[in-house]
Symmetry: C2
């Protein structure tokens, strides 16, 4: 076997500014036979401190339900996903039954895996501080993006349940994009104004904070 060639030259030419570009650079190759057919982006994994808090957030507030959980010994893992039908929404056990078989589970997308290391729930948030990836210089992971039928209604329900709203709709400024002062000052990167085409999108998007400080994005399904 030989290394797979890189379809993307370095440096890549900059994309035209402020335009929604289907297919991006237009450099993506067709998928070669016998390579990645059948691959699924199944889940992302986040550490949590206290399962009572995080299950409340993702299940009661964000609408996910438990597919399965496993106590591995030193930690417990929870796989959550969204029920797909009225019957599954009425009966979370039915959703779990319908989804937990290996064939269904491994071809399902949009799951989140929460990992709770036993004992961290007894530590305070200050003692066992998880890092959300958005605070310089410890940048990396950005957010989990949910789409919702109506962002203002979703934000209102979350706010009423004590969730911190990081960005409301109607706002689209430089401080709402994931570029820190630290990066601009230290490296001189990420400079310049936001394109109008992007501000239009950003103004319709909300952000809230989960119980461990991870950023949760709410994207409208009725984007204008």
């Amino acid at each position: 076997m030989t290394p797979v060639p890189n379809s993307f030259p370095s440096p890549l030419p900059p994309l035209p500014v402020g335009i929604h570009l289907p297919g991006g650079h237009g450099l993506d190759p067709s998928v070669p036979p016998n390579t990645t057919q059948g691959f699924h982006l199944n889940h992302l994994m986040l550490r949590i401190r206290d399962p009572s808090e995080s299950l409340h957030f993702y299940i009661d507030l964000m609408g996910l339900r438990t597919v399965f959980a496993m106590n591995t010994g030193p930690c417990s893992i929870y796989y959550l996903g969204h029920p797909q039908t009225d019957a599954e929404r009425a009966d979370p056990k039915l959703y779990a039954q319908n989804t937990v078989s290996n064939d269904v589970l491994t071809t399902t997308k949009g799951l989140i895996e929460l990992v709770h290391i036993h004992g961290t729930e007894k530590l305070s948030k200050e003692e066992y501080k998880l890092h959300n990836g958005n605070v310089a210089p410890f940048l990396g992971f950005g957010h989990v993006g949910f789409t919702v039928p109506d962002v203002p209604i979703a934000l209102e329900r979350l706010r009423e349940s004590g969730v911190k709203v990081l960005k409301d709709v109607g706002v689209a400024e430089r401080e709402n994009v994931p570029i820190t002062e630290w990066e601009m000052e230290k490296f001189g990167v990420g400079i310049g104004e936001l394109a109008e085409g992007y501000r239009h999108v950003l103004s319709q998007i909300g952000f809230v904070e989960d119980p461990n400080g991870y950023w949760i994005e709410l994207v409208p399904q009725n984007m204008k």
Copy 2:
């Protein structure tokens, strides 16, 4: 509106060890009307340093294709997903066309958003170091989980293209679970042996590293 009650008491009773539990604690409520119906877990967002490297990894090697990209001014964002049909795999532009409309995009799951702050590609990996969430004490995000038809074949193809394999199949030890020495020593949490039922699963799973050091999990679709 009143706060949504928490369905999960604190502390939650420990789950039985080493058993795959559909529905987890069995405490999930049915979904109340007019709350989270229609919510989708659409994507996760990761910062990247150099789009040439990261698009090569996620597109050429992991089989994703570009739905759309946008240059916002100071940064560019890329939304990637897996083509669903032979026709889409043969023609990535068709996949983009089929997926990019607002209705389809916002009800699609299993997407990844990569954010490139312009200029970081000129910095070295040491200068602009992104944090993968798995190195103490900067713990948080864990990994992106892909399911694949055959983990050893997938690992071999990645290895031949220079990808670092973090965990091969056939291995299932304490150091392969996301609990650091730091947590055990500092807090006394996450102690104890791995349950046999979990080691059986873990031994079939692979982990590789993406170009920015993020952990990528490969879960077999033919789990035994």
